[in-house]
């Protein structure tokens, strides 16, 4: 059973950031937070419901960036026409996150702020070089994915900060994402994109504590065997460490093949 807590339902972002603290936390889809609370891993005294804050769920595009509100659900992103046309790789990845209920409830912001290592979003957003905009009463700051994700379930977000939106540079790098998934979270996820400056960028997710980013001038320079040797996955119900290393090697090779064919 869940512990007791208060719920507040602000209608403006500044009302949210006024009350955030170590004990009073942002709450949206609950697909991560409520599970952690059920297990007793988190015991906040108050939840600040973000679902009734207009604007936090908006998706908009400019000449230079696609902005995705942190309160947008995975389903919102997957089905949004702006995302489908300007960042098709992200839209495709979002159609396959978790299961249909998690996609309908879970938000981009929740997924990122929990920083569960087995996350499709962490890998694909690292690949397309997204940046994250955080706001608090102290002001606003923008972080790259590698600055934001510090470790498993550990980000640079301060307790009084709210992740407001994700900013994806336009034009969005095209490429591919491949994953092996037998439970609700990926066992191995790999992304490969070609950046606008022509650089090849490969990201390995889920078998690492934070997304592993490898850049090269050509795909031939990236060695799947060396990457598989480098990662140190844990053995669990989804497979042994050796098995995950093997799948990593195979999927890195395959995703590079897909990216060489153009990808999305």
């Amino acid at each position: 059973m869940l512990p007791e807590f208060t719920i507040t339902r602000p209608s403006r972002i500044d009302e949210v950031i006024d009350v955030l603290s170590a004990d009073v936390v942002p709450y949206a889809g609950g697909t991560e937070l409520l599970l952690a609370m059920k297990m007793g891993l988190l015991v906040p005294t108050g939840l600040v419901d973000l679902k009734r804050v207009p604007g936090l769920r908006e998706i908009a595009v400019s000449d230079t960036a696609l902005l995705i509100g942190a309160g947008a659900t995975h389903d919102d992103v997957a089905r949004n026409e702006l995302v489908r046309t300007s960042a098709p790789l992200l839209a495709e990845v979002e159609t396959r996150v978790g299961n249909a209920r998690v996609r309908a409830q879970g938000t981009v912001g929740g997924n990122l702020c929990f920083a569960e290592p087995r996350s499709d979003l962490l890998a694909v957003l690292a690949a397309i070089d997204a940046s994250l905009v955080l706001r608090s009463v102290r002001g606003e700051r923008t972080l790259s994915m590698s600055e934001f994700v510090l470790g498993p379930y550990w980000t640079d977000r301060a307790d009084d900060e709210l992740l407001v939106h994700v900013s994806i540079p336009m034009p969005c790098p095209a490429g591919a994402y491949l994953k092996l998934q037998i439970t609700e979270r990926p066992t191995v996820g790999v992304a490969a994109v070609r950046t606008s400056s022509g650089q090849c960028r490969l990201v390995v997710g889920s078998v690492v504590e934070v997304p592993l980013v490898i850049t090269a001038e050509s795909w031939e320079e990236i060695d799947p065997v060396a990457i598989a040797r480098e990662v140190e996955p844990v053995s669990d119900i989804a497979g042994s460490s050796e098995y995950k290393k093997h799948v990593t090697e195979v999927y890195v090779r395959r995703v590079i093949g897909l990216a060489q064919g153009g990808g999305r």
Binding site: M1, L2, P3, E4, F5, T6, I7, G30, T31, L34, L35, K38, L47, D49, K51, D75, G98, N99, A100, R101, V102, A104, Q105, T183, E184
Partner: protein
Amino acid sequence: MSEPHVSETKSATTSRPGSATEVATTVNGVAHRSWVANRTTLASFLRDGLTLTGTKVSCELQVCGVCSVLVDGQPVSSCTYLAADVDGRTVETVEGLASGERLHALQQAFVRNFALQCGFCTPGFLMMSKALLERNPDPTEDEVREYLDGNICRCTGYQPIVAAVLEAAAEMRGGRSA
């Protein structure tokens, strides 16, 4: 300040002011208004508070799908969803599918195809299938399998469930739905 009255859900006992929320919701077309403890899940609110026990609870990790219900048409795992969040929203459960004695097209197709054995997972499969057909009235077999891959059935082997959903979809498109 007086303690808010908390409606008679078993898990809704509360001792701390501010730990309950007044909820006005419509469940299967019936309006309800009551105070619920913030920590009450939607599954508990439906089963214990409204005695709508068609919604089942099993894994409590939003993995198995037996607790699936629709909130404003969107599928949710009611085991991991706060009852407070249905305030101002509409809930549909398996009890709302049939019209009187007349089963919904999905229910009829499940019966015809033997798409259930023990029946424990069936309410979840029915509600997820309803959500799927509302957004995609003409799904392919792959789309049905993909949408339902977050629901677990240990009896049927899934084939008759997929067949039933495709059959119900065809029937509903033909305008002969329940």
